[in-house]
Symmetry: C2
Subunit: 250 residues, 2 copies
């Protein structure tokens, strides 16, 4: 019997954001592969083997999943959010391209999930309601100069922006550098949104004018959004609503 | 009793992509508001009133939803995909900002959904696996010169790209103009992906080198993706897999 690899998005943390398609794939799996906290979200059951692994071993984890599938297992590789957004789908496909040619014949599927930026946007309104971009601020896999260039071009294009992996213990200075580039390139007080533990019970949303942001406001559990030059704040009792208008005058 | 407005994303079409959170909101609603084909996805039941409306009346529809909520109804505004991505969330918040001040005190929530570009990306691999942008190609709400500028800056930033509303009967020439700008600015044969009716039984995915794309390849039921300069195609029996690598050399 031939095996399969499904790369599935678990969404940002709340089980009410897991699609029925992903839940069904988890029910049919023989093996679950992924980063420890994501595998911990899958309930153990008879006939299911959990293979949690550490962070930063994406290619090893991918090869392990593909090897098990070529032995006939039905493997689900779990990602947080959407597997195609700074997550496991590209890693598995990189392993396929450079690995055993028989892996190309496996049944490989990617199942989308709710990615953190869209859950964060929903939690405060619609800050990504106009053209936008998503940038991974980690320079583990690309030179900082390219990140800096993208930030400045994105500001020039007047995109709303979403930033993944803004800051980690091993890269404490990255967010500060990005912030400096954005403050220079945008030159205004548009709102920056810090969504931490989005969709979880301990979710926090902070809205700060870009001119007042400091580098300690982000960590690895935060997704950061930035409005464009037109973004609006609707003040009211309780949390304000943020949105980026659909229209721009000509 | 005070009313509420929930702006909910139904995903791209397949009910297996509707989150449990959205399904629960539909179950609790007294009134459903939205574009005709999206309201048609909600099953009628006793106690639920459906208010389908035509396309291009987003602000009227939003005001209607807010008025009903201020009368105590529990209104769900349904969007295709994610409500925060070129959909109803920004329209409702625009109506709140410029409408009756009492609307600001309503219980207003946005519930994320699977947006078309991420379902399309998953259907062919991980073409948005690196930094990317999302651009609405309709010039109903912004000048074409701004779209053209964004396309050229996005190419310069080497973003992967997703294009919503590429072409309609009322704007038959828009996609051709965008294509010309992209062919000039990218200058290579990177893959462009045409995902039509994504996630539905009649889904089609076409992968075409950018140099060979013609303007008739897109319509309003298509979301279009474009790789960056590094995007890879894994050929194999059956449909190829496309991915954009996570890493770029320095």
């Amino acid at each position: 019997m031939s095996g399969s690899v499904v790369i599935a998005g678990l969404g940002p943390g709340n089980d009410a954001l897991v699609t029925p398609e992903v839940a069904a794939a988890l029910d049919k799996a023989t093996d679950i592969v992924g980063y420890i906290p994501y595998v911990a979200r899958v309930a153990p059951r008879a006939g299911l083997t959990l293979h949690p692994s550490d962070n930063r071993v994406e290619i090893d984890r991918s090869r392990h999943a593909l090897e098990m599938a070529s032995e006939g297992k039905h493997v689900v590789v779990v990602s947080s959010g959407d597997p195609g957004v700074f997550a496991m789908a590209a890693a598995v496909l990189e392993a396929v391209e450079h690995g055993d040619p028989v892996w190309r014949d496996l049944d490989i599927k990617v199942l989308p999930g709710i990615t953190a930026m869209l859950a964060a946007a929903a939690a405060c309104g619609a800050p990504l309601g106009h053209d936008f971009c998503a940038i991974n601020l980690s320079d583990n896999m690309k030179p900082w100069a390219l990140i800096d260039k993208r930030l400045r071009l994105a500001a020039e294009a007047d995109f709303a922006m979403a930033f993944y992996n803004p800051r980690s213990k091993s890269r404490p200075e990255g967010f500060g550098k990005a912030l400096k580039a954005l403050q220079e390139a945008c030159g205004d007080a548009r709102p920056m949104i810090f969504a931490r533990n989005v969709s979880r019970p301990d979710q926090t949303i902070k809205i700060v004018p870009l001119t007042d942001v400091t580098e300690d406001m982000a960590d690895m559990r935060t997704v950061v959004l930035l409005g464009n030059s037109q973004t609006r704040i609707i003040e009211r009792d309780g949390a304000p609503l943020i949105y980026t208008p659909r229209s721009v005058d000509g």
